[in-house]
């Protein structure tokens, strides 16, 4: 989940309430406190609330809860004559651009930090790592409109933000960290998107890096925000969130006209949307019987507008609340506004008869008998390494089921049998007292082209015993006993080759005509592969075919 750090003093100032009240209230607006020190708090917010990516957004929600402000803030967008002109050539690479102007800002260091952290969170979250959108913040003092959204070649040079000298596009992509990270988002190797003003001053090379000429500092009074991307929906969502934060930072918002051929579009688009709910909706979903008046007030505390009419309650949703997709989201806002802490558990359950899975009952019975025979249960992961599952037990990974890009080679393969990991466990316990007798019942996996998923899962039972006298006789008598006393089955044994079992001291077994598994002493070579110094005997059978 995304995390932001906020200054507690600023939250105090923005909400007009003491720190203690703020800290106490945060969890109830869906913000989790990760840590707090004297000055700063690190807050984790849910990814559906990108408006919480600045302290302004969090303060906005808190002010509702504290009833300092209710409902949607009335804001005005003034028109400006600024234009961004979209050139045809850029559209196949990164088709869209929108933007806004914010005038008369007073940017202190902390405000700049908040804006940059918001920019980064929007890039990562709804921007899906800048794929869907990238945001640029610019001081307009050095920009001479109109702004062009066009293309340049790989040799085009400008000074990227954070560097002293001009670099070519090619160099930026190869040398800078952002270049290497986000360069792959650009599909073409010879044409690159660029935002520059009428005198060819570079604002931004999206989605990689801004130019240094339009850098924002504490002296900046007037901002241009550009947003380029591939998903207009996400871009408008993000720009609405940015606009809201800049308003709260004291700015005046002006629109920009995006000119794409003959089409002109005024941005940002901050139109509200509407929804309708009724007290019955609240009662049915939440279990709270609230009157319309309380619901309206709760919604306004959640910073939505609401009014009662003949058919129920009409709700207006500000553009920046991108999390609201359905009336259930609006109903949840009622619960938030009413106070989640006021939701008491309802214990009025009807009687219902519970039951355990039949297969589990049988597995538990088998475990009881195994334990009675002196076997210690072990539990292993369903995934294992190539070394354990194949190499050390001399098995061929020809039908192996591999997972894609695991972070560790410890869990690269889905297990098709349990015995190799039991040997691994014994090898990790060679300093413990012998005899050692262990068992496991778990799922194993094999390829199955006829199933929906291409994989067959079944339950396997494996036992491994190790002592100076661990023999075929002992392990087979354990297998015979378990089969006979848990399932009433007698298996037949016949010669068969298992790569890690000693020939002549191992056997396969079947019930009726169905092969169910194998039993035998482990080959000395395999014992050595595991660093085992004591003889080991194992059996493994397919339980699914028996229970």
């Amino acid at each position: 989940m995304p995390v932001i750090s906020v200054m507690l003093d600023r939250l105090e100032r923005l909400t007009g309430r003491p720190k203690e009240d703020v800290i106490e209230a945060l969890p109830w607006i869906g913000v989790h406190i990760e840590s707090i020190d004297k000055e700063y708090a690190r807050l984790e917010y849910d990814p559906n609330r990108p408006d919480f990516s600045t302290d302004y957004g969090i303060a906005r929600a808190l002010k509702g809860r504290f009833e300092k402000e209710l409902g949607i803030q009335r804001r005005n967008i003034d028109k400006s004559d600024w234009k961004i002109i979209v050139e045809e050539k850029v559209k196949p690479i990164r088709p869209f651009v929108i933007g806004l102007l914010a005038h008369d800002l007073l940017l202190d260091d902390e405000t700049i930090r908040q804006l940059i952290s918001m920019q980064e969170d929007l890039h990562q979250g709804i921007g899906r790592k800048r794929k869907k959108l990238a945001i640029g913040l610019h001081d307009i003092a050095n920009i001479r409109p109109p702004v062009k959204y066009g293309t340049v070649g790989p040799d085009f040079k400008f000074t990227p933000l954070g560097y002293k000298h001009p670099m070519s596009i090619d160099e930026i992509l190869k040398i800078t960290e952002v270049g290497r990270l986000y360069g792959p988002l650009l599909s073409k190797k010879d044409v690159f998107p660029i935002l520059m003003d009428s005198h060819n001053t570079v604002l931004s090379f999206p989605p990689i890096v801004n130019g240094t000429a339009t850098q924002v500092t504490y002296r900046t009074k007037d901002l241009l925000v550009d947003m380029t991307g591939t998903d207009m929906q996400a871009m408008e969502d993000a720009l609405a969130i940015v606009a809201e934060a800049l308003w709260d930072a004291g700015g005046k918002i002006f629109s920009i006209t995006v000119k794409d051929g003959e089409r002109e579009m005024k941005t940002p688009n901050l139109a509200t949307s509407t929804a309708r709910i009724s007290p019955e909706d609240v009662e049915k979903l939440i279990g709270l019987k609230l009157d319309s008046e309380t619901i309206v007030k709760s919604l306004r505390r959640a910073r939505l507008d609401a009014k009662e009419d003949k058919e129920g309650i009409e709700v207006r949703i500000p553009r920046y609340r991108v999390d609201i997709l359905h009336t259930v989201d609006v109903v949840e806002e009622v619960a938030y506004g009413y106070g989640s802490e006021n939701l008491t558990p309802d214990f009025g359950f009807k009687y219902s008869k519970g039951s355990e899975l039949e297969v589990n009952k049988k597995v538990e019975a088998i475990k009881r008998v195994a334990v009675g025979l002196g076997l210690q249960e072990v539990l292993t992961y369903s995934l294992s390494s190539k070394q354990t599952l194949y190499d050390r037990v001399l098995r061929d990974p020809v039908n192996a089921i591999k997972v894609e890009s695991p972070k560790s080679s410890l869990y690269e393969y889905l297990k098709d049998c349990l015995s190799p990991d039991l040997l691994r466990i014994l090898s990790e316990n060679i300093h413990e007292q012998y005899p050692q007798k262990i068992f496991e019942i778990s799922s194993v996996f094999s390829r199955d082209d006829y199933s929906e998923i291409g994989v067959k899962e079944s339950l396997s039972l494996a036992v491994a015993i190790s002592s100076d006298i661990a023999t075929f006789t002992e392990i087979r008598s354990l297998l015979d006993t378990i089969l006979l006393r848990t399932l009433g089955i007698r298996a037949e044994y016949y010669e068969g080759h298992v790569p890690f079992l000693a020939d002549g001291r191992s056997a396969k077994c079947k019930v009726g005509s169905k092969e169910i598994g194998y039993v035998g002493e482990i080959k000395p070579r395999v014992l050595l592969n595991f660093g085992l110094r004591m003889p080991v005997a194992v059996f493994e059978i397919d339980l699914s075919s028996l229970i």
Binding site: D346, S352, V403
Partner: protein, 487 residues
């Protein structure tokens, strides 16, 4: 007097003087036991001991061979009776060049063999047994002390010592025990028994049982037992059954469709990336229910008939067909609901779930999830809180609180926390919520569906007073064997 001492004294009373080994053989006790008893008796001045050192003679490797097959000169002599040429003799002897030459030299010197002209071998008819051979024969029956060697063989003994590999000598200590005071024999005539045997029981009267050392340690045993995580799973299962839940199960490998798409998780959601979830390489599932696929893809794209805006992107079947190791058992719950859309039900699933994580003290790539689902006409969020409160307090956590949170497939959503007295802090234990209409409607469900789930291992750690998740699956035997079952 200890019963061991009594046994030794009784033996000595008959023999007066004896070696430790003989006492051990005569009493049936081990040599160590007899040594202990003799030491105690010596301290009580009842016996004296006399240690003598003897040089014992044993056969070495060559000596053993010679005792069985004869000395090399004897072997050559026997062979020479059957061959005529020296070369044949050499080849058939099976000896090394050096050994053969030495043996031949000795046989010639003894007058057993003569070599004529171009290697013709002549054999003397009479070759008497050598003193060396007699000595080797004696030694092959039992080792001898140096002073036990017959006088006429002392020369042969000196000769064999010079021939490397035939005999070896070792010093051996002999302890001779002498009884100093004849005790009252009657005290020892009464037989003592160390083991109660079925035969003894049949005699039917009070036996004179030798007292045992009841203080010293006895062998340690380890019972067969269930793994602590299994015990905890069983406990959780019992609580849920008692709350009226029916257990369900389902495959670990799932199409992305059931793990994510059916749960309204958009296809570009970060949780679906390979960095977070484990997909199976080269495998693709076959989705069969086209109507359902249609409903769910439209719900993602435009909300379908759910009343939602949807996520507004182009849904891809390809992405939904990927095989993923389930990231939550909600995939199983969703399938159950899809198969029983109208039924009011309470079900739960306990199973493994997977994340692409590095293994450390607080993260597992594979862990156990418990999920409970309630599908009822009049289910509400407040009822969900009621179920959770009941569940966690049955598990021993009386203080439970709920904070609002977010999941793509539930609305509203809550995060339950339990208070741990040991750690003196609140711990988040999983997530919960009411399934969104975007999840239930495409599956044909009109009930409200409540769900809560949590990872079992974190609470298991609390129970087991451990702080490292890896320990649970390390299968360290001293940890598994050391657990106290009744805690």
């Amino acid at each position: 007097m200890h019963w061991l001492e009594k046994k030794v004294v009784a033996y000595l009373a008959k023999n007066n003087q004896a070696h430790i080994e003989d006492i051990a053989a005569g009493t049936g006790e081990s040599i160590d036991q007899v040594r202990r008893a003799v030491e105690w008796l010596r301290e009580k001045h009842l016996v004296s001991i006399n240690v003598s050192v003897k040089r014992m003679i044993y056969l070495d490797d060559k000596g053993k061979k010679a005792a069985e097959f004869g000395l090399p000169e004897r072997r050559i002599y026997s062979l020479a009776k059957h061959v005529t040429g020296l070369e044949d003799l050499r080849n058939l002897s099976g000896m090394s060049e050096f050994e053969f030459n030495a043996a031949l030299g000795r046989a010639k010197k003894l007058g057993w063999i003569e070599i004529k002209g171009k290697g013709e071998v002549l054999v003397n008819s009479d070759a008497k047994e050598l003193p060396e051979e007699r000595l080797l024969n004696l030694l092959s029956k039992a080792p001898l002390a140096e002073e036990e060697i017959p006088k006429d063989l002392t020369e042969a003994y000196a000769g064999l010592l010079k021939r490397p590999g035939y005999i070896e000598t070792k010093e051996s200590k002999e302890v001779l025990v002498t009884l100093l005071k004849k005790p009252d024999i009657s005290e020892f005539e009464q037989k003592e028994y160390t083991v109660i045997t079925p035969e003894l029981i049949k005699q039917g009267y009070e036996l004179h049982l030798a007292p045992l050392d009841v203080v010293s340690p006895v062998p340690v045993l380890f019972p067969g037992r269930l793994h602590p995580v299994t015990n905890f799973i069983n406990e959780v299962r019992e609580i849920l059954i008692s709350m009226g839940f029916i257990e369900i199960t389902g495959p670990i490998v799932q199409p992305s469709f059931w793990t994510f798409d059916a749960l309204f998780t958009p296809q570009d959601h970060p949780a679906r990336e390979m960095q977070d979830s484990l997909y199976l390489a080269g495998l693709k599932s076959k989705l069969l229910n086209n109507d359902l696929i249609q409903r769910i893809s439209q719900t993602h794209e435009n909300g379908w008939k759910t009343g939602s805006k949807g996520w507004r992107y182009k849904w891809s079947l390809d992405e939904a067909e990927k095989c993923v190791l389930r990231t939550h058992t909600t995939a199983i719950s969703a399938r159950y609901l899809a198969e029983n859309p109208e039924k009011e039900s309470r079900v739960f699933c306990i199973g493994k779930v997977f994340r692409n994580e590095n293994l450390d003290a607080t993260h597992l790539f594979e862990f156990t999830q418990i999920e409970a689902v309630i599908s009822e006409k009049d289910a509400t969020a407040r009822k969900l809180l009621g179920y959770m409160q009941t569940f966690y307090s049955s598990l021993g956590f009386d203080q439970v609180r709920f904070r609002p949170t977010y999941f793509p497939y539930t609305e509203p959503s809550f995060e339950p926390s339990i208070y741990s007295k040991e750690l003196n802090q609140w711990l988040e234990v999983g997530g919960s919520g009411v399934f969104r209409p975007e999840v239930t409607r495409p599956l044909g469900i009109s009930n409200n569906v409540l769900a809560w789930g949590f990872g079992l291992e974190r609470i298991a750690l609390l129970r087991l007073k451990e702080d490292d998740l890896r320990k649970l699956y390390s299968n360290n035997l001293s940890w598994l064997r050391g657990k106290i079952e009744c805690l």
